[in-house]
Symmetry: C2
């Protein structure tokens, strides 16, 4: 028997607050018979926890459990297996909704599936609220306006690379801070940028923390954190 192929939906579900999902993502999330999401090797999936209030029940669930290397790159084998399992559902005509923290194409883990399945099978990507967008809103930092240039830079890079990428930009977001906090704090102090920098952790979750960079205990920094920088004097957009 032949079936029309199902569609893989890559759904941005936002950074933590279940209300920061779009109507479009919610529609596809509820309609799909199969749900997929990343999870650590042991314990709860953060993506599933965020989507939990919206789940209709009775969905088949594909849990993509991965370990991470020191820069949190997941082991690829888990995504090979997941792609195969998802392909099976799609080929039998069942849509699959893959949950993705934040926005799928801004450092989103959905990309590990996307590169394995796009070009072979129908894929629809629904954008999500990224942690930087939620962070600037929560911290009341009007990040870019007019002719401002914005740099988004991962904290995992070497100090000198980060310094080069920040040079000349009016605004910046350093993502994936976590265990790189001390390195970044030292660097931003040397660049004269620490004083105006804002630290935002677990944005829009109940555990959200927003504070001046200089007030953060380095040992307390989370992977789910960012540093917001902007060089504009005063508050005029």
């Amino acid at each position: 028997m032949n079936h029309a192929s199902g569609t893989l939906y890559g759904l941005g579900i936002g950074p933590g607050d279940p209300e920061l999902i779009t109507l479009k993502a919610l529609k596809y999330l509820r309609a799909a018979p199969v749900l997929a999401y990343p999870a650590p090797l042991k314990g709860e999936s953060l993506a599933r926890r965020i989507a939990q209030p919206h789940l209709p029940g009775e969905q088949t669930e594909i849990i993509i459990r991965t370990s991470y290397d020191k820069n949190r790159q997941p082991v690829e084998a888990a995504y090979d297996r997941a792609a195969e399992e998802i392909s099976g559902h799609l080929s039998e005509g069942r849509d699959v909704a893959m949950l993705c923290l934040g926005d799928p194409f801004l450092y989103g883990s959905f990309q590990y599936l996307f590169v394995r399945l796009d070009h072979h099978l129908p894929v629809v990507v629904v954008p999500g609220i990224s942690a930087p967008a939620a962070g600037t809103a929560a911290a009341h930092i009007a990040l870019t306006a007019g002719g401002d240039c914005l740099a988004v830079v991962p904290a995992t890079l070497d100090e000198d690379v980060i310094a080069t990428r920040l040079a000349g930009f009016d605004a910046a977001v350093i993502v994936k801070v976590g265990r790189h906090f001390a390195k970044l704090h030292g660097l931003l102090r040397r660049l004269g940028m620490a004083e105006k920098a804002c630290y935002v952790e677990r944005v829009s979750m109940t555990e959200e923390r927003i504070l001046p960079l200089d007030e953060v205990d380095p040992d307390s920094a989370s992977y789910f954190s960012m540093i917001l920088l902007h060089n504009r004097e005063g508050a005029s957009p």
Copy 2:
């Protein structure tokens, strides 16, 4: 008679598709007795058109009509008047929902009100789906992953500034393209970046256009357009 102050809500309503609004923005949009939004001097407000399917009716509407200079910076006097009118509602205890295309703090016009009213009055900012997030999703361009650095650069800047800002970055979005199209196309050709560049116009609207940069008729480019660039070889995240 004293009232508790109302709250000003800066609501990101996404780039065009009414379904790209979050549950949170929708909640505040529907509950506020007063609605505010930008509009050209004559004609329809795009922000209001996008929000139209969600409006509950019977809201007081504040239309912020502005002309724009050549880089689409609005004339400030209109925002002075709007801030005064909005302050009046807030001081009488009425919440005001201000509609903002895309995300309020990524080049959003909400900032013209924000700088006038934040620190004086209660302000809540709700992030929105930005045009770049929707553009990468629609074009199937996995923009950033792992250690990639992203530059967001307005097309209004001088060519040499844009070239400097793009240098060394793995991915970039050039926003506000419009009448700067020919300048950008020439620049990206000289930099060897035109061939892989993608042009996205009026993303998520019914008039959406997505095509390789080299195939765009320069005279047809819209202000509501962007160029997506990424230097990653192949598709691996």
